[in-house]
Subunit: 405 residues, 2 copies
């Protein structure tokens, strides 16, 4: 375990707890006497190829703790998705700076980067430990029971739906909120945890694991509206038709694509507006409102799961422990062991890298527009303690005088 | 003070603390031995004309407390804006049910309803006490230093901007968030309280108190982007051109108008999308994202100002005390007496009813796209205790090896 310098970095979309993982890794690494310097790449892999490193050994442990409690990626992030050539550049820089350990916190794209860099190091016979630390609000990493960042985003979505359901009950109509999650419906499904009383919304939940049929959607909204006089809907940004075409492309004249060739789904209110327009024109319902939760759901400060914080911290710590005591590269994975307890393992990178996990069938109601109790049981402990709760007045009605029933 | 029945109701948009005012009034009224029954109109003035009353004397004080802590309008609300005929209907029902006190929690439209009903009662020589209890997230009621509901919405907006600023710092680009507030910029201006470090966003703030000029906006974004490599913008939904035409109407092909003849500004992402499109095409900046905070900012559960809660509760209590001990109708108003303390007064309805307050010039920077320290000083105590705080890593840069500077 001869190490002198280690490097940590963050990739992909920020989360409410990704800084905990960095802080967990940095503070743990600083305890080992064979570690002289802890570097942080500024803005992920882009910072590595640019040799833009921060010396985290010069950072106070107190400030690290404060940054750990702050959402978003304190080291900066990047949307660059390295190919082989890019990873060779990364390796060249790691070698030049004599880095002994490379820790990369990110989702499935980031784990694939770790895998390629790990292979390059082996080819070059360079002694480099490469560890992927899991993170993604989409909860779509394989092997893991869940991934850090998801529980806090899920808590935001659940709390948001508690509120908009109450708002919709006060001023009835149809309300649609679009939730993040390109391929996996976990975060949209979390809206169900905002539901308390039987007639509470979200009344309908649409996820990318099921084909979205516009006519079926309109029929669902219509029958809910007829039953309750209102309707609250949770829709994943990634809903698509039977051919896999995103519903949003049916609207957008010009589709912006990101560096990965993906259609831009977030940072626009287009999908919610399209669906509202369909309901207004086809169902003739007058009060129809749509919101897109957008970046709030992954960045909101002051809405975080303490369970998520602890686990994000621990995967960072465990990453360093695995790197110090084991001789293999890998991805730190979270495994549920009780109700509620978890343990961590180091999983071969190939089992996680570049793969996408979807919501299992047992979490999706047969109707295709709701979740099951199995999902509620899965998610509830992740949301953490001190979840707010909604209360309502009991409807003790007074007899009418002017127009008795 | 001969009373037997009193009636409470809520009007207009829900807030995070409007239930506190209802609970304050109900619990206070239940202490008076001359009060036999406390009714709540279900869904505001609409509930009154429909004789849809709940008997709140049959509600437990414990559940009232729990509902008080729950956001949104627990009694339901309405967007109906009563004219004279509608108010005569209201009065007819109040008379039939022998109501002695009428308490209406709402904004300037609601206070105007209270004024008309009060006048009808006087004309009919019917002994009715009519009290308006203030509420509005827009903070646009005259006479008041601020209005219940605004501090909690402001806290949400400030916390949201703390988060999206961190997100934007991690993945730089232009980010625009559209904030509620049709005529008054207070809530949009609250975004400034999300700013800690000098280069933090929001870098630009646009409010309805100043004319919005698209070319000036684009120039502002360009110079901020050139300075910081990123730009976070807060925009009020109510921004308009020099003729008063809302900027959103320049986009929307079909403008939906509500019952008051107002253009629909909330529940659509159109304004943010339009502004993003302008920046993308005219400034050639690739990463441009827009969010519309929508209903979250007034309904989000778990983001409330304790100062706001206490004051909302007190205006409800004071309303009943004024009605019991004074002989005049009026609107309960909030007056700042120290840093930070407030007192309450009963103000003649005519001074509040139907009037709109705007942000004073001293709160708006000369540039027209920022706030002043006077505004920060005004708002900070309202946000309450336990405001979250953002921290960042110190940039101790490591010398480059492959490409030394």
């Amino acid at each position: 375990m001869s190490v002198t310098k280690i490097l940590v970095a963050q990739g992909g979309g920020p989360t409410a707890v990704i800084n905990q993982s960095i802080v967990g890794a940095v503070l743990e690494a600083r305890k080992f006497r064979n570690v002289d310097l802890v570097y942080g790449a500024y803005h992920g892999v882009r910072g590595i190829v640019d040799e833009d490193f921060l010396d985290l050994t010069q950072e106070t442990s107190h400030n690290l703790e404060m940054v750990g409690n702050t959402p978003s990626s304190g080291l900066g992030s990047t949307r660059d998705k390295p190919d082989l050539k890019y990873c060779q550049e990364i390796f060249k820089v790691l070698k030049a700076h004599e880095i002994g350990h490379f820790y990369y916190v990110g989702g499935n794209d980031s784990s694939d980067t770790v895998r390629i860099v790990s292979e390059e190091a082996k080819k070059a016979n360079y002694d480099l430990r490469c560890i992927h630390i899991p993170k993604t609000i989409d909860n779509d990493l394989t092997v893991n029971d869940h991934t850090p960042g998801f529980p806090s985003a899920a808590r935001f979505v659940a709390q948001a739906f508690m509120g908009v359901n109450l708002d919709n009950a006060a001023l009835p109509g149809v309300y649609i909120a679009v939730v993040m999650g390109r391929h996996a419906g976990f975060l949209t499904a979390a809206s169900a945890l905002g539901k308390k009383f039987p007639d509470d919304g979200p009344h309908l939940i649409y996820i990318p694991e099921r084909v979205f049929v516009l006519d079926k959607f309109l029929a669902d909204v219509k029958s809910t509206y007829e039953k309750y006089g209102r309707c609250v809907v949770a829709v994943s940004e990634g809903i698509h038709d039977e051919k896999g075409v995103p519903i949003i492309t049916k609207l957008a004249a010009e589709i912006e694509r990101d560096a990965h060739g993906n259609v831009q789904l977030s940072g626009t209110g287009a999908l919610a507006d399209l669906l509202c327009e369909e309901i207004k024109t086809k169902l003739k319902i007058s009060r129809v409102r749509g919101d897109t939760f957008g970046y709030l759901q992954r960045s909101f400060i002051g809405c975080v799961s303490d369970v998520d914080q602890r686990e994000a911290r621990e995967v960072g710590e465990k990453a360093v422990q695995y790197a110090m005591w084991d001789k293999t590269d890998g991805s730190v994975t979270i495994h549920r062991t009780g109700f509620y307890s978890v343990d961590y393992q180091l999983t071969p990178l190939l089992e996680v890298a570049g793969k996408t996990r979807h919501m299992p069938d047992e979490f999706i109601a047969a109707s295709g527009n709701d979740v099951t109790d199995a999902f509620r049981l899965y998610l509830r402990p992740l949301l953490g303690s001190r979840m707010p709760d909604a209360y309502r007045l009991r409807l003790n009605r007074v007899p009418k005088i002017l127009n008795p029933d």
